[in-house]
């Protein structure tokens, strides 16, 4: 790894793709995202199969509050924008802007998680528990898995920020931010289908 760090303090353009290791990380990450698509695809398929199986407990149309969902959607969409602004800062070698936008992304992610926890607590009070019916189980598995991905992203990007504060922006740390950005966009793309298929379709019937 001796030659992988900065060459005489000059960082290449697109530092995330400057080394073979960096390029391999990005390709490898696309394989990972492919596997994630299969995972979420299966969870969506189970949800669509089971969403009307409500022998007892509230149905989707009775349960969901679209105001909260709209707010969550807005927060996550904005965080996806801030993470791509971080990638632009990465390409321009602006360390402070990169860390700043990534910090905003993490804070928005935490806000999203807070809203989701509030939402789930409300649902449990209304009798929509994990074991209430097949609709509830598949709902919590799908939406909860997405929430777990957000939580993991928050933790991962926070650690990356701390590491880069220590090591600075190099051809080793740059691919990590690029990949974290891809991950965060992926989370937002999954949410697009969750608010459509789970919440909006739940209201339509």
């Amino acid at each position: 790894m001796s030659s992988a760090h900065n060459h005489a303090g000059v960082l290449p353009h697109e530092p995330e793709k400057a080394t073979l290791e960096g390029r391999n990380k990005i390709i490898g990450f696309w394989f990972f995202l492919g596997a994630e698509v299969v995972l979420f695809g299966s969870l969506f398929a189970s949800y669509l199969t089971l969403r009307n199986q409500v022998p007892e407990g509230p149905t989707a149309a009775e349960l969901f509050q679209l105001e909260v969902v709209a707010l969550s959607t807005f927060i996550l969409l904005t965080s996806s924008l801030t993470s791509v602004l971080a990638t632009i800062a990465l390409h321009r070698h602006k360390l402070n802007a990169l860390l700043g936008w990534m910090t905003v992304t993490v804070l928005l992610g935490i806000a999203f998680l807070g809203l989701e926890i509030y939402e789930f607590v409300e649902y449990v009070h209304e009798g929509h528990t994990f074991v209430a019916n097949a609709f509830a189980t598949s709902f919590y598995t799908l939406v909860g898995f997405h929430g777990a991905h957000v939580a993991f992203g928050v933790l991962w990007i926070s650690l990356l920020i701390l590491q880069t504060l220590k090591k600075g922006l190099t051809v080793v740390t740059a691919p990590k931010f690029y990949i974290a950005g891809l991950y965060w966009h992926f989370i937002d793309v999954v949410w697009v289908f969750i608010f459509t298929v789970v919440y909006l379709m739940g209201k339509v019937g």
Partner: protein, 105 residues
Amino acid sequence: MSSHHEPSAAEGQHYKHEGPKNHYLTYIFSILLTMFAFAAVIYGELETWFVLFFIVGLAIIQAFVQLVYWMHMKDRGHTFPILGMILGVVIVIPIIIAALYWMWW
């Protein structure tokens, strides 16, 4: 890969950094599509099947636009991920059609 990527002085002067404009446009477009989807469900007096197709269509468009701009598919060097995605879609669509046919008819 014999080519290496340290920038020469000439390359450095001609290199154009990508600006944030496309990303802001993607953001505004995504918000608009989301608002249309919510509005169709909240205010729409439309047929159920039409609303379903409409909002799922909007979701697919939004995912595609975000994939192209935010996940950098339009940038060079993405042939391999794009081929993988096309292959995945080509395989998945017959599976979905076959599975639906199997269950419903």
